[in-house]
C-alpha cells in the first residue's frame, strides 16, 4: 500500500489479487464536526474507508453527506475532529492537498470546463509556467481508459459530450494521479439507466484494483447493488451502518428495512410509495384516469425553434385525459422545458396547436391559458416561479396582481391579501415567520409549497390541466412526499397532469403513461407497468421505440 511506488502507472498496482482481509483503513475520519450558521452539518462523525471496498454513505438531502465530502476534498474546513490517511493525521485545507493525498473526488455538479477538450480538462492543474505535456497525457489517458473500459475521444470539447460521458471524464480526472480513494457524490442522479450500468462496471473494476470507493447517494437500491458497506447519516450524525460481511449475507428487503429505520424519524417514516421511490423499484400506482372522457389537453404536432444549448421540439403530439398522469422522461435538455413552456403559453411554437378541452388556445398568452384551465408549476422556482424580494403574501397572488377582489381599481386591499395569505399558509403548511416574510428567506421545500399553493389552490375558475416540471427536484423526502401527494390528489380530482421529470423512479411511481423526449422528439409513449422502466431507459438513449 506504499504510495511512493514510482510515477503513476496504473490506477493501482493490481498485484494483490485477493481482497485484503481488513488491513488498516486507507482513510479515516475521527469525530469530524462542521457547523454552518444555525446548523451542525456534521456532528462528530467517525468512519473508516478500506481499500478495495465500496463504502456507501446514505442519507436524505441535508443529512450532511455533501459536507463530509467537501471536507475530504478540501473544499470545506472541519471545525473539529481529524482526518487520517493510512493511520497518520493530515490536514486538508485546499483541494490541492486532498489531491496530493491520493483522494480524487467526483462532485455532484459537473466540474469540467466545457470549452476545453477532454484531454485538456484532464491536464488542468499542472505548473503554470510549463508547456503542456500532451504526449504523457495521451499515454495516461489510453492507459486509464483501457483500465476502466471507457472509450472517449480525447480531443472532443467536453461541452459536446453527454452527461454520462462527462461523468466518465470526471472519474478519469479523479483517478488521474495516483489515487487511492475515489469519492463520488450522487453520481447517478443525471444518468440514464444504461449510464448507471456503465458506471457500476467501472466501479467494480476499480474496486478489484484496490481503490477505496466512497459513494454518496440517497437511493437504497444503489446502496444495495453497489456497496460493500453502508453508513447512514441523519441530520449530521452517523446513525448506523451495515458492515461488509453483514451486508453480503442480507437480502435487499432486509437491508432496506434496516436502513429505512435508521434514515428516518418515526414521525416522518415514508409511506409505501415513497419507499418504492427510495428503492428505485417502485410501481404502486393507483390509476385515476377516466378512459371514456374526452381529452382535456391535446398537443398537436408542436415544433419550436432550437435555442443555443437546447433542442427545439419537433412534431410533438399527445392527448391527455382527465385524471391521467402523463409522465415525460428524458435526460435534461432534450426539450422538456420547451414543452412545458409551450403548454403554459410562455413560448410560442413555430408550428402546431394546443387544445384545452377541445378549444384551440395556441394563440393565447399565459393569462389566456390560465383562464382556459392550465396551471404550470415550474422547476425554476426562484427564477420564474416566484420573486424572492417580495413577501410570501404577494407571491401567493403573483398571477392575480391588480385583479379583484384583492385590488380595487389598482389599489391594494392589504387586509384581504394578508388574510388570504394566512389561510393559504395554514392550509398548505408553509413554514414561514409570517405572511410578510420575504420569499427568499424560505427553504426550498417551503418555496415549492408556496408555488403549489398558488397554482393548485382554491384557484378561481376551472382547472383542467396541470404541468409539473421536476416537482421534487432538490426537495428533502418529506417535502417530496407532500408534492407527490398533491399530484395524486389533483389527478384523483379529475385533472390531467403532465409530469416532466428526470427522476425515472418518480415517473414510474406516479404516471399512467410515460413519454420519452429525445433531442426534441417524443420518441415513444409507454404504458406504465412491469418492464416499463427498461423500455424507457432504451428510449432515453435514442433507441427506436420497441
Amino acid at each position: 500500500m506504499g504510495h511512493t511506488d514510482g510515477p503513476p502507472q496504473s490506477v493501482r498496482p493490481a498485484g494483490a489479487d485477493s481482497a485484503p482481509v481488513l488491513p488498516s483503513p486507507v482513510l479515516s475520519v475521527r469525530t469530524l464536526t462542521k457547523r454552518f450558521p444555525g446548523v451542525v452539518a456534521n456532528d462528530g462523525i467517525s468512519l473508516d474507508f478500506h481499500a478495495g471496498e465500496t463504502h456507501v454513505l446514505l442519507g436524505e438531502n441535508g443529512a450532511g453527506k455533501s459536507t463530509l465530502i467537501g471536507m475530504l476534498a478540501g473544499m470545506l474546513r472541519p471545525d473539529a475532529g481529524e482526518i487520517l490517511v493510512q493511520g497518520s493525521p493530515v490536514r486538508i485545507l485546499t483541494p490541492r492537498q486532498s489531491l496530493d493525498l491520493g483522494i480524487g473526488t467526483v462532485f455532484q455538479h459537473m466540474l469540467l470546463v466545457p470549452s476545453l477538450s477532454v484531454i485538456e480538462n484532464l491536464m488542468l492543474g499542472g505548473p503554470w509556467w510549463q508547456r503542456l505535456a500532451r504526449g504523457a497525457a495521451y499515454r495516461r489517458f489510453a492507459e486509464l481508459s483501457e483500465c476502466l473500459g471507457i472509450s472517449l475521444d480525447p480531443d472532443l470539447p467536453v461541452g459536446h459530450l453527454s452527461l454520462g460521458q462527462q461523468q466518465q471524464v470526471e472519474i478519469l480526472r479523479a483517478l488521474w494521479r495516483d489515487t487511492r480513494v475515489l469519492i463520488l457524490d450522487e453520481p447517478t442522479s443525471m444518468l440514464t439507466p444504461q449510464g448507471v450500468r456503465d458506471l457500476s462496471a467501472v466501479l467494480c473494476r476499480l474496486c478489484s484494483q484496490g481503490v477505496a470507493i466512497v459513494l454518496v447517494t440517497h437511493k437504497l437500491a444503489e446502496a444495495y447493488d453497489l456497496g460493500d458497506r453502508v453508513s447512514v447519516l441523519r441530520q449530521g450524525r452517523l446513525v448506523g451502518g451495515i458492515a461488509a460481511d453483514e451486508h453480503r449475507g442480507m437480502t435487499e428487503a432486509q437491508m432496506t428495512d434496516q436502513v429505512i429505520a435508521m434514515m428516518f424519524d418515526p414521525a416522518h417514516a415514508p409511506m409505501a410509495d415513497e419507499r418504492a421511490i427510495l428503492l428505485g423499484r417502485g410501481n404502486v400506482h393507483a390509476p385515476s384516469v377516466r378512459r371514456g372522457a374526452a381529452p382535456c389537453l391535446e398537443v398537436r404536432n408542436i415544433s419550436t425553434m432550437p435555442r443555443t444549448a437546447a433542442h427545439g421540439l419537433q412534431g410533438v403530439s399527445f392527448d391527455l385525459r382527465p385524471g391521467e398522469v402523463l409522465g415525460i422522461a428524458g435526460v435534461d435538455g432534450n426539450g422538456q422545458k420547451q414543452l412545458a413552456e409551450v403548454i403554459a403559453g410562455q413560448r410560442a411554437p413555430s408550428s402546431g396547436t394546443v387544445l384545452v378541452g377541445g378549444k384551440d388556445v395556441t394563440q393565447g398568452d399565459v393569462a389566456a391559458r390560465r383562464n382556459a384551465g392550465i396551471r404550470y408549476v415550474t422547476d425554476d422556482r426562484l427564477g420564474e416561479g416566484t420573486v424572492g424580494s417580495l413577501s410570501v403574501a404577494i407571491n401567493l397572488l403573483l398571477k392575480n396582481v391588480g385583479a379583484e377582489p384583492f385590488w380595487h381599481r389598482g389599489i391594494a386591499d392589504w387586509a384581504r391579501i394578508r388574510q388570504a395569505a394566512r389561510d393559504d399558509i395554514q392550509r398548505h403548511d408553509i413554514r414561514t415567520r409570517s405572511e410578510q416574510t420575504l420569499l427568499a428567506k424560505l427553504s426550498g421545500g417551503n418555496i415549492q409549497k408556496v408555488l403549489l399553493a398558488r397554482e393548485l389552490g382554491k384557484a378561481e375558475g376551472d382547472v383542467k390541466v396541470i404541468v409539473f416540471s421536476k416537482p421534487t427536484h432538490g426537495l428533502d423526502l418529506h417535502n417530496a412526499q407532500l408534492a407527490h401527494r398533491r399530484i395524486r390528489e389533483s389527478a384523483a380530482a379529475g385533472r390531467g397532469i403532465v409530469l416532466l421529470s428526470t427522476d425515472l423512479d418518480e415517473l414510474l411511481t406516479l404516471s399512467d403513461r410515460i413519454g420519452v423526449l429525445f433531442q426534441g422528439r417524443l420518441v415513444g409513449i409507454v404504458d406504465n407497468g412491469p418492464g416499463a422502466g427498461a423500455a424507457i431507459g432504451r428510449l432515453m438513449t435514442g433507441a427506436v421505440a420497441a
Binding site: M75, P95, L99, F107, L112, M123, P127, W128, W129, L132
Partner: protein, 308 residues
C-alpha cells in the same frame, strides 16, 4: 492624394497609434480570459504613461521608461487584484473609479513636477530592420520603428502559442469559464486571476509609456484619450485570439493616423470630424460584430469556494 509621403506618414502613424492599442488589447484579453473585466485599464495606461515619461525624462533611457511604465500600470492593477479579485467587489465600479482616480492623480503629479510646462523627450531610438527597411513605402512605414514595436508584435505570436500550449493557458481558460473546475483541480482561482490582472497592468502600462515617450514625446494629462477603452473593445471582439487583437489594433491605428495624415496631405476637413473617426468606427464595428463576440461564462463574477 495617395502620394508616397502621404502613404508613408499614414502607415507609420498607424503603427505608432496602434501599438498602445495592441498592448492594451492583449492585456485586456488576458484578464478577460481569466474572467476579470478590467475596466480600469485606461487608468493603468495613464499611470504607465506618466511613470514611463518621468523615468525616461530623468534617466534618458527609453528602455527604463517602458519598464517604469509597466510597473506603473501594475500598481493600478494591484488595486484591481486586491479589490475585485481578492475581495470580490464589483469590477465595473472599481474599474471606473480607478480610471478616474488615475486621471486625477497623474494630472496632479504632473502639475507638481512640471508646473505648466510640457518638456519633451529626445527622439525615440529607431531600429531599422535590415533589408525590410529598404522596401519602398513599406520599409520606412513599417520597419523603421522603436524596438518595442517588434517586441509587441512578437508578443502576439507568443501569447497565441502560450494560450494553447502551456498550463498557464489552460488555467486562464478554466478561470474564466468554470472557475470551480480549476479550484477542484488544485489551482488557486484567485491566484490565477491576480497573475492575469498584473500581466494586464504591465502590458497596459508599457502601452501607455509608448504612447507618451514614442508617440507624443511628452506627457499631457488625460493623454490616453480612451485608448484603454478601445483595448477593451478589441479584446471583446477578438474572442480570445491575439491575432485578432493585432488586426483590430491595426484597423483602429489606421483610423487614428488618418487624422495626422490628412493634415499632412493638406486636405481641408475640419479636424474635429477627423478625430471622431476612430470612435465612429468603434460603434460601427460593435454594431456589426458585437453579437458574434463570445465572452467567458464567468466574466465579471468573483469566485468564492463552495459557491457553485
Amino acid at each position: 492624394m495617395l502620394t508616397q509621403p502621404f502613404l508613408v506618414a499614414l502607415l507609420f502613424g498607424a503603427v505608432t497609434a496602434g501599438v498602445p492599442l495592441l498592448l492594451a488589447g492583449m492585456g485586456e484579453q488576458i484578464s478577460e480570459k481569466a474572467g476579470v473585466l478590467n475596466i480600469g485599464i485606461e487608468g493603468m495606461m495613464l499611470l504607465g504613461a506618466y511613470c514611463g515619461f518621468v523615468a525616461a525624462y530623468y534617466s534618458g533611457s527609453f528602455a527604463l521608461g517602458f519598464l517604469a511604465g509597466g510597473l506603473g500600470g501594475m500598481a493600478v492593477a494591484s488595486l484591481v487584484a486586491l479589490l475585485c479579485v481578492r475581495l470580490g467587489l464589483n469590477q465595473i465600479v472599481i474599474g471606473i473609479a480607478l480610471t478616474l482616480g488615475a486621471e486625477g492623480l497623474t494630472a496632479l503629479l504632473h502639475h507638481f513636477q512640471f508646473s505648466r510646462t510640457y518638456p519633451r523627450l529626445d527622439e525615440a531610438p529607431v531600429l531599422a530592420l535590415p533589408l525590410l527597411a529598404d522596401l519602398p513605402i513599406l520599409g520606412p512605414a513599417l520597419f523603421a520603428h522603436n524596438p518595442l514595436v517588434y517586441v509587441s508584435v512578437a508578443l502576439v505570436a507568443f501569447l497565441g502559442w502560450a494560450f494553447r500550449h502551456t498550463y498557464a493557458g489552460l488555467n486562464l481558460e478554466a478561470a474564466g469559464v468554470k472557475p470551480a473546475a480549476l479550484d477542484a483541480a488544485g489551482i488557486s482561482v484567485v491566484g490565477t486571476r491576480i497573475g492575469a490582472v498584473l500581466a494586464t497592468g504591465f502590458l497596459a502600462g508599457v502601452g501607455g509609456a509608448y504612447l507618451a515617450n514614442v508617440g507624443a514625446g511628452l506627457f499631457v494629462p488625460f493623454m490616453t484619450h480612451g485608448a484603454g477603452f478601445i483595448g477593451i473593445v478589441l479584446a471583446m471582439l477578438a474572442r480570445g485570439k491575439p491575432l485578432w487583437v493585432l488586426i483590430g489594433a491595426a484597423l483602429f491605428g489606421l483610423s487614428l493616423a488618418l487624422t495626422t495624415a490628412l493634415q499632412v496631405a493638406g486636405i481641408n476637413i475640419p479636424t474635429d470630424i477627423v478625430q471622431m473617426l476612430p470612435f465612429a468606427l468603434i460603434m460601427l464595428v460593435l454594431v456589426v460584430f458585437a453579437r458574434h463576440s463570445v465572452l467567458p461564462a464567468a466574466l465579471g463574477l468573483p469566485y468564492e469556494r463552495g459557491e457553485r
